[in-house]
């Protein structure tokens, strides 16, 4: 937010008289003033943001997941044995003790005679205790969220995937915002045929649904995380985000300060980079959040369909559960389906909610009167 607050200006005036004018214009001093202003604006915006409790909840959830992403390499390095806990290649032969009974009432600790004979040896009898290596194993002290159908630690997979998801979201958001801000500002500033061409192209990108395109792209190219991030960023940057940012830039170009800059002899480049883009940036940040939401859920969707070339992600965890046939086991194997699905939903929803709360900061019309 660049609106200069009246409270901030006295600090400019309250300089000692012996200071010379050229000293006042020293770049370092200006930088300091800017920093102070930025801090003030931040404090004010934070106050507005924190009024929205749902946005705060979203921010907390994002923070927790970010912590998980940071902790994973440390845990792998210091605490966890890579041979057991590696999210892709790890394996742990979890042995569970079962009591052989006639009628199974507790499937986690009891086993029927026929089943036990099939799994161990045909000479066991009812009442004996047998040890059976079991995958997927239920949560235990060693594996807090249990193991998946091929014996890999779910918690480790979940944490590893968080890192991948955040990286993907960051790539997509940066590309989208960079392209969309540039295109939007240029289209709004120059207008004419350039504007028309860019906006019609944006219409086309917006119209054609993303998922089918990405499905076809996955057949033609090797679709991995960085490529997907760049693709999503470019498509979103040329599409919907560009349209929104252009309309914002258009409302900036007609402001008096742009005319003033032009009268003062500012070049087109100067006006675009110094006056238009800084005023569009807050909205750009907002759309970064929405791009992250889209990127995370799209990646999970494509992984779920089995089209991504990536070692592990939340989508692949669900895909494994689905393809190994553990879906209709219901709550019995809850640790296979619930954590991954909740992670995608929670993180995507949190970015969305933070975006919404930021929207209220940026767009005063949405605030409650």
């Amino acid at each position: 937010m660049t609106d200069l607050d009246t409270k901030a200006t006295p600090s400019l005036r309250m300089r000692e008289p012996e200071k010379l004018d050229d000293e006042l214009l020293e770049p370092e001093k200006l930088w300091r003033v800017r920093l102070r202003l930025a801090r003030k604006t931040f404090a004010r915006n934070w106050k507005l943001f924190s009024r929205n409790k749902i946005g705060l909840v979203g921010l907390t959830i994002i923070g927790l997941f970010a912590l998980m992403a940071v902790l994973h390499p440390i845990l792998m390095d210091r605490v966890w044995d890579p041979a057991i806990y590696d999210p892709v290649k790890g394996y742990d032969a979890v042995v569970t003790e079962f009591v052989i009974v006639e009628e199974v009432s507790d499937p986690f600790h009891e086993i029927s005679l026929a089943d036990a004979q099939l799994r161990t040896n045909p000479f066991v009898e009812v009442g004996e205790t047998v040890s059976i290596p079991l995958q997927p194993a239920p949560p235990s002290k060693a594996h807090w969220l249990g193991t998946d159908p091929v014996g890999r630690d779910i918690l480790s997979q979940l944490m590893y995937s968080t890192r991948a998801a955040f990286a993907l979201g960051a790539i997509a958001a940066l590309f989208a915002v960079f392209i969309a801000t540039t295109i939007g500002s240029v289209a709004a500033f120059y207008g004419g045929w350039l504007d028309a061409v860019l906006m019609r192209f944006a219409d086309l990108v917006l119209l054609v649904p993303l998922i089918p395109i990405l499905i076809v792209v996955s057949a033609l190219f090797n679709l991995n995380l960085p490529l997907l991030g760049i693709l999503l960023g470019v498509l979103s940057g040329f599409g919907g985000t560009a349209i929104v940012l252009k309309s914002q830039a258009l409302s900036v170009t007609v402001k008096p300060f742009v005319d003033a800059a032009r009268v003062a002899g500012g070049s087109n480049r100067h006006i675009i980079f110094r006056h238009i883009i800084p005023n569009v940036l807050p909205l750009s940040f907002l759309y970064m959040m929405f791009t992250v939401t889209d990127a995370i859920s799209l990646e999970a969707t494509l992984s779920f369909l089995g089209l991504m070339n990536t070692p592990m992600s939340w989508g692949i965890m669900i895909y494994t559960t689905h393809s190994q046939g553990y879906l209709l086991s219901g709550t019995h194997y809850w640790w296979l389906l619930i954590p991954a699905g909740m992670a995608v939903t929670l993180v995507a929803a949190s970015f969305f909610l933070v975006g919404r709360a930021m929207d209220e900061v940026i767009n005063p019309r949405l605030r409650r009167r």
Partner: protein, 390 residues
């Protein structure tokens, strides 16, 4: 009005040509082009390869190939499927298209109708508990990871509910129960097309009755005629198929349609509801709402006739975005529910690298999206008098 529509149609055609061009160059850009898939087999001798390349037109320059590609597309020649050789792609698409259309249309209509109705009530009750609960639920549904949600729906409604009730309330997946169709005198597509036709015709009859009633009658009786006509329009197909010899088969297809449509519309519904709520909240601050209150109009009239009507415009504009959402969601729905429509066809084509079929499906999906966009434009035009009376 006709001028506006013509202009939009021409624009759509141009956009579609641009889209096909992009797809063509996407195919060109892939590492190891299409010719490698056909004639990359090392057992084919070089002269045969050259002959094949010539026959497939792969030796021609890019420009000539582009023209041939466009020409073929617009004459309805989408090539032959590689995985089900030599079935033409167009035939496979024609078979799958009605199923996708039904899923798509019914989910969109349901989501829009219910979403708009709920959204306007939500905005009206701002600050109440129901508003918080439903908005939170809406955000949850809107951001939920859709494949996971669909799986949970299968588990909850397809499996657990049936276990609990004791009979199969919703089938888990697929389009029909094959064993019920053994010895059937009808093919699946015959029955399905008949179902679509009857339903569409009876809805059309209801719509025409409503329009005539609007022109001939006062507002009150016209509304009553509308409600009655749509009630009959919805009920008639059921009566028709109850009487017809297709009863069991139509019932089977209908039974399998329920859960996918419900799942897709629930997710689309959440987005529409949230949008209507936001749009209503903005409209409620307008001066004309204050005027309406000052005039002493009843709450319901202010809500439905003054606020909701004006809040509808942005919601219709969002139809375009919702379309992309429903198309993407439709593909996932078809995959999760093994529903043999265009989306599943596209996905299976991609997994077996059947490029002609995949491109054909993608193009048809693009046509669907563009057509939906056109419809949204026309609705918008009808609703906004600034455009209607130009």
């Amino acid at each position: 009005m006709a001028k506006f529509i013509t202009k939009r149609v021409v624009q759509m055609l141009l956009l579609f040509i641009v889209f096909l061009t992009v797809v063509f160059f996407l195919l060109e850009a892939q590492p190891g082009d299409l010719s490698q898939q056909y004639i990359g087999n090392p057992e084919i001798p070089p002269e045969q390869k050259a002959l094949l390349a010539e026959r497939l037109g792969l030796d021609k320059p890019v420009g000539a190939r582009y023209l041939a590609y466009m020409g073929n597309f617009f004459t309805g020649n989408l090539g032959n499927s590689l995985s089900q050789w030599p079935r033409p792609v167009s035939e496979m698409i024609v078979e799958a298209l009605p199923r996708t259309l039904v899923l798509f249309l019914s989910a969109t209509l349901l989501a829009y109708y219910l979403g708009f109705m709920t959204g306007k009530v939500l905005a009206w009750r701002r600050g109440k508990f129901t508003e918080y609960a439903l908005t939170l639920g809406g955000v949850g549904l809107y951001t939920v990871f859709y494949p996971w949600f669909a799986l949970l729906m299968i588990w909850g409604f397809g499996f657990m509910l049936s276990e609990w009730v004791g009979f199969r309330v919703f089938p888990i997946s697929k389009f029909i129960d094959v064993q019920d169709w053994v010895g059937s005198p009808f093919t699946v597509n015959d029955v399905f097309l008949r179902m679509i036709t009857v339903a569409a015709l009876s809805m059309l009859a209801a719509a025409i009755t409503t329009i005539i009633a609007r022109r001939r009658l006062e507002l009150g009786p016209a509304l009553r005629v509308r409600n009655f006509a749509f009630l009959i329009g919805v009920l008639y197909p059921f009566v028709y198929f109850y009487m017809s010899p297709m009863r069991a088969y139509a019932g089977d297809i209908f039974h399998h349609t329920l859960l996918p449509v419900m799942t897709l519309s629930l997710v689309a519904f959440a987005g529409i509801m949230l949008l209507t709520r936001a749009s209503m909240l903005e409209t409620l601050r307008e001066d004309f709402i204050l005027t309406a209150r000052a005039k002493g109009l009843s709450e319901k009239v202010i809500r439905d006739r003054h606020a909701a009507r004006n809040a509808l415009l942005p919601v219709v504009t969002s139809l375009v975005l919702a379309l992309a959402f429903v198309i993407g969601g439709g593909i996932i729905t078809e995959t999760v529910f093994s529903w043999p429509g265009i989306g599943l066809l596209l996905l299976t084509a991609v997994t077996v690298e059947d490029i002609p079929l995949a491109i054909g499906c993608l193009s048809i999906i693009a046509v669907l999206a563009l057509f939906g966009h056109l419809v949204a434009d026309i609705i918008y035009m009808y609703l906004d008098p600034r455009i209607r009376y130009q």
